[in-house]
């Protein structure tokens, strides 16, 4: 698949729209999800992903011996998202989206749990956050994460371990098995 991605990228750069479509079908949504999880904003995520595609088509920096196209793409999105976050932190005028749907009780509960996880992940150190998102949500291998984040394998493992430990601590109340109502202590 990595070799196939490389071929598709080469053809897309030469102007083959079908190859570009295939590449987008394969990686477009995961890249958007990753950007969304890093930035917390649909607008920002869309801008980052669009810029990512423009970058890979016009800058001839990808080399097959440096890793997979997937790792390369996630690396670009990561850099662009962090750049965006730096700008947002400076200007601080873009609201971070939250899931504030109101509906049936179960939906509300699920939304609250989802929001709690989002907050806990967002509170991680940036390097731990990106490693965790890439590993847990986008199923990148440790090698691909190392490629995307430009660090060695040991650093990736350490960041993942620390991220998981922090989350385990912060989200402990949500991981406890539910007790039946009326069974608690008064």
């Amino acid at each position: 698949m990595a070799e196939d991605d490389s071929r598709l990228l080469t053809e897309a750069r030469r102007g083959n729209e079908r190859s570009f479509d295939s590449l987008y079908q394969r990686h477009g949504t995961p890249l958007f999800r990753f950007a969304w999880r890093l930035t917390g904003s649909t607008t920002a995520a869309e801008d980052v992903v669009q810029e990512c595609w423009a970058t890979i088509l016009h800058r001839d920096r990808y080399r097959q011996d440096c890793g997979s196209v997937r790792g390369y793409l996630f690396g670009i999105v990561r850099n662009l998202a962090f750049e965006r976050l730096r700008i947002r932190d400076r200007e601080s005028d873009e609201p971070v989206e939250g899931t504030t749907d109101t509906g049936p009780f179960e939906d509300l509960l699920a939304a609250e749990r989802s929001e709690a996880v989002a907050r806990a992940v967002a509170a991680l150190a940036p390097f731990q956050r990106e490693a965790l998102i890439l590993f847990e949500y986008e199923n990148l291998s440790l090698e691909e994460i190392a490629q995307a984040t430009q660090v060695d394998l040991g650093a990736v493992k350490a960041r993942l371990h620390r991220a998981r430990e922090t989350l385990r601590r912060r989200l402990a109340p949500l991981m406890e098995p539910a007790r039946p109502i009326g069974d608690g202590h008064e």
Partner: protein
């Protein structure tokens, strides 16, 4: 990091919106606008800019060339059109005609008998 890890299950409760169809269209439009066209597409839209005097001279040369070529070809007699009404027409070609060597010449006066 197994599948039954409660942390992992909880992490996957974090919901993320899907990118809209309009976004995919925007990405494709951006690609089309920025891509390097294929060879045949570049050939199809290839443009040449020529100054008007050069174009006029080129047109004059072409016209003069046609005229010279046409003049060097011998003119042929046009074939007469068939008479209206569907009658017969005889076309006599006298080129290469030679009278018989011992032919007797008879002069026939106008209105006379042979």
């Amino acid at each position: 990091m197994n599948e039954k890890d409660p942390l992992r299950a909880l992490l996957h409760e974090w919901e993320v919106p899907e990118p809209s169809a309009a976004f995919a269209a925007r990405i494709r439009a951006g690609y089309r606008a920025s891509r390097r066209p294929a060879f045949w597409e570049r050939l199809w839209s290839f443009r040449v800019s020529i100054p008007v005097p050069v174009l006029a001279a080129a047109v004059l040369l072409i016209v003069a060339g046609f005229w010279l070529v046409r003049r060097s070809v011998p003119a042929q007699n046009p074939i007469p059109a068939a008479p209206a009404g569907g009658g017969y027409m005889t076309r006599l070609e006298a080129a290469g005609f030679q009278p018989l060597p011992d032919g007797e010449i008879r002069v026939i006066r106008s209105g006379g008998k042979p």
